[in-house]
Amino acid sequence: MNQRPILQVAQDGETDIVVRRDFSHPPERVWQVMTDPALIPHWMASAEAMSRCEIDLRPGGSFYYEWKGTEAGAGFHFSGPILAVNAPHHMTHVEFFNGDTASGTTITTDLEARGQGTRMVMVMRYASAEARAAAIEIGMTDGFDAVYDRLEALLPAA
């Protein structure tokens, strides 16, 4: 039997991406890992470590996640307002990339207890169909990078 948790990523309508994922820990813990600024840098995906991670978790609050630039690439940050919080089950926030408030992505995250674990459903609503396509393309590029990184790791040292 496949022990890997189910992950579903699907496009919905013109602008949405829906991500579903099961965790083997209860919603309280998943919520903690998702929202504690001391824990977020341990899992949030990027080749580089986060250089700043702040989150004021309340309706009307905001967050700021920053990655410093390196030789390999320019730095970037995600920030935006937090619209709704109902710990440990629901959060709605808006993400702006590099402070570009013209095209934000609205993200709703729901955590539901399932047996001993949690089902997460995250809906990312992009500003337009084009913005969604660009986000997927960037994600795919990162995927390629990771494949190359793994290949490189397999190569014998010169």
């Binding site: 948790p5 992950l7 990523v9 699907a10 496009q11 991500v19 994922r21 965790f23 083997s24 820990h25 209860p26 813990r29 998943v30 903690q32 890992v33 998702m34 824990l39 341990h42 899992w43 949030m44 995906a45 997927i136 994600g139 795919m140 990162d142 995927g143 390629f144 990771a146």
Partner: protein
């Protein structure tokens, strides 16, 4: 080249994506597939060959006719063109799993009270 690479290469061309869109509606002959395009039937045949080699479509033999149709697995493959994007999420969630497991090691969850035989 892996099967996924082939599928991606096959999907990279707008004509081939349009052919798949058409085949998603049902099987069709090469003539029927050629009609909406301003390119020759041999060119369409070459695109169809790429799609077939990528495992996205197949040729059905019906007497002298050779209609093309989507392979059942191809529907899934097309659905999964988000696959690499998905892989990025999977890596991130696996890291979350590790952080979650770490939390349990440092602070075991409270046993639920009552209702235990």
């Amino acid at each position: 080249m892996t099967c996924l690479d082939r599928s991606f290469a096959a999907l990279a061309d707008p004509v081939r994506r349009a052919l798949l869109d058409r085949l998603a509606e049902g099987e069709a002959s090469v003539q029927e597939l050629t009609r909406p395009f301003a390119i020759s039937q041999p060119a369409i045949s070459r695109h169809l060959k790429v799609l077939e080699e990528a495992g996205l479509i197949e040729t059905r033999i019906a007497g002298t006719a050779r209609p093309r149709r989507l392979k059942p697995e191809a529907v899934e493959a097309l659905w999964d063109w988000l696959g690499r994007y998905r892989a990025q999420w999977e890596r991130q969630f696996e890291k979350m799993d590790h952080v979650l497991d770490g939390l349990v090691e440092t602070a075991p969850p409270q046993k639920p009270k009552g209702d235990e035989g």
